[in-house]
Subunit: 424 residues, 2 copies
């Protein structure tokens, strides 16, 4: 069997995970896939990561140019992360006629529109199953399953860090700060956690998933994004009382020419399959016009789950012809489409007020005046002379709710608007 | 764009569903997949199903030979169900060089070994995403995702009828008989329900799923099978008290050369993702050696979900080259492999005994003598002078449990062994 030679650029957690699988299961892959895959080079800043991982340091390659120049290398795995130098290196590899398998969601969300035409021009593949939801084959599903269906909605819990933090808060009653500290201690959150907790990582992935689901470019820059930093232990307590869990959701919808794409914390009903996706697990829930509701669930990150997705792409790339995306991937939203900013959702609203009769009804009147109809309301005494009022609304327009909150914030009896969280 | 002509054999629920999608989304499929797919013929016993479905009766074709003889027809959908005449018709189509897309799990489980070589010999595709779990793309996932992983276990809730019945029993406290009658009334169960409630349908599907997952033929005839007919309302009550739901599970495991394949009711822990798969929904949960745990969830049956899987296969078949299974599909278990009959599992056991002191400990002694260790035990008075003893065991060998039950059944204080259900 002919040896198929590949290289890995960036030998951190995920690169190491892919290497482990390719090495440990090499005979199995030969037997079941008919491919004998050998890692010829590993590119990194030094050979230290190779030594740390117990890999023969002679595989070390210090230069992307040297790698690009070796005609034996058919395919390159990019697991460096970040935009540069990953982007430049990928371009180099594609221009040298090598297919690229990447786990880099940030790069894809920002530069897919430039990379895809280069891949196409050089008849190479650009594969990125590992960029979204670790080992869960959701990119493959969106490309090669239910292709006869119009996908109407995609709902994802697609960031492990925030799901770990919110699950900790939900199960142990921790504050956001304590849960974040615990996540950092256990290695589930970075020292600077903003990319995860701010919803940026989820927005990168949503840009990729929604583009594939709706067969049109859903630019990262157009995605509405709100992080989990202001979710409080009290919000979670209220959610539980009302029958919900709080999750960071990535939501994409398409209805004809209307497109919605947003990332924000959301109340998810306890009996919804997404509510029980907890800890570092991830899931993508989607609805097609004929297949109905589907959910794909699994580990959203980690060396081996993400490595598994990379190896899957390597096997796919070496086994067949490259596959390009089928839509205009110019990086801009198609002019025919409307990006819906004033979307419709349920809302959870939590307000601290003077503990006096009539305040709840005054707030309710403001909501009603703005066509926001109330599904449930609770009032509980909080500190001395103050009470907390909680509303759960029926589906209403975002702008109507914002306008209501503006008015409510100006009422004399209102001390503070504590929270506003959208409802799935 | 060139018209691609296909035919449908069998115009019942699923055939009609596939036709709906191909018709309604024809322009969408043209735009997104670059394929203009036209149904040229519909084969059935008469044109009555076409008329009933509002389809131009001129599409009616009464003869498989006529269909096979038309060189314009590239591909045929088989949605007749059952073994004959479906098998004979499929062979005719493959021999005429037409790819076949089928939803027929019974036929595949029984005749895949004969059909695949015919497809191969005539360079046609044999596609069957719709044969398992409706629109959930689990066949595609097993073939084209996590290919670098050794799949270690597959757990499926893959029969909608039994899941509907067990969910009804769980949520409403119904008896098996009442839940079955309700399922029949609503069209979720056939007048003769044995194929579903007896676990045959699930075993057909497990044969297909386990063969793909383990890259070896897992013959239908070797699968251990037990239906849900003896699950009682009392079992469900006990399960809830112990923290479980009861589900009909299809279980496949591979550990080196050891293979397990079995279909039976099982206690599933409440916090396991499979426990919340209820009603007519289905799910497949699987574990790979690197990707970890994955779950695929969705509607397991129905005209449009299953039709969606068929259309997906049609698009795949028309878009590319045929893909054959990569293992020896001789219809027999590979001689290298051991089929594990004496598998290991937890067990729930429910026994009616004389309501006298010392009986529970006598039963516990029998279990202990057979190396079956007890995880939990409960005793509740039932009718006059009798009590019900419930055991939940740690993982034990099937044969040890069977031997214990034999001995327990002979004890004077034992009125009846009411239930034995395995635990996931």
């Amino acid at each position: 069997m002919k040896k198929r030679k590949i290289a890995i650029m960036g030998f951190g957690t995920v690169g190491g995970g892919a290497y482990d699988i390719l090495t440990k299961n090499r005979e199995y892959i030969k037997a079941t896939q008919g491919l004998d895959i050998e890692v010829k080079y590993i590119l990194d800043r030094s050979d230290a990561p190779l030594k740390k991982h117990g890999v023969d340091p002679s595989l070390f390659c210090p230069s992307a140019d040297a790698l690009a120049a070796d005609p034996e290398v058919e395919l390159v795995i990019e697991t460096m992360g970040g935009v540069e130098p990953a982007r430049g290196f990928i371009v180099k590899m594609l221009e040298a006629g090598k297919s690229v398998v990447t786990a880099n969601k940030e790069l894809l969300a920002k530069s897919w529109a430039q990379l895809e035409p280069i891949a196409k021009a050089h008849d190479c593949g650009l594969f990125f199953e590992a960029s979204c939801v670790g080992g869960v084959p959701v990119i493959r599903a969106l490309g090669e399953s239910f292709q006869g269906d119009k996908v109407q909605a995609v709902y994802g819990i697609i960031n492990g860090t925030t799901n770990f933090i919110l699950s900790k808060m939900s199960k142990e009653g921790l504050s956001y700060a304590d849960a974040l500290a615990e996540a950092q201690r256990l290695g589930f959150a970075e020292a600077d956690p903003v990319s995860d907790v701010g919803g940026y990582d989820a927005a990168y992935k949503l840009s990729i998933l929604a583009s594939l689901a709706f067969h049109t470019c859903v630019p990262y820059a157009d995605i509405f994004r709100e992080g989990i930093e202001s979710v409080t232990a009290n919000d979670i307590k209220n959610a539980h009382e009302l029958g919900y869990e709080i999750k960071l959701l990535a939501i994409g919808k398409r209805d004809g020419n209307d497109i919605e794409a947003r990332v924000h914390p959301a109340f998810v009903p306890m009996d919804h399959p997404l509510a029980s996706v907890s800890g570092a697990f991830n899931a993508v829930y989607l609805t097609g016009d004929h297949v109905g509701d589907l959910m794909f669930y699994g580990a959203g990150a980690g060396a081996h789950p993400t490595g598994s997705a990379i190896v899957s792409d390597v096997i796919k790339a070496l086994g067949g012809s490259p596959k390009y995306c089928d839509f205009d991937n110019s990086g801009k939203l198609d002019k025919k489409l409307n990006f819906v900013g004033d979307f419709v959702s349920g809302y959870y609203i939590c307000v601290t007020v003077d503990d006096k009769p009539g305040v709840l009804s005054r707030l309710a009147t403001v909501l009603g005046d703005n066509s926001v109809s109330i599904k449930a309301a609770m009032q509980v005494p909080s500190a001395a002379d103050t009470a907390t009022v909680v509303f759960l609304t029926h589906r209403a327009h975002e702008k109507s709710v914002m306008k209501s909150l503006e008015t409510i914030g100006r009422l004399a009896a209102v001390k503070s608007i504590d929270s506003m969280i959208r409802v799935l």
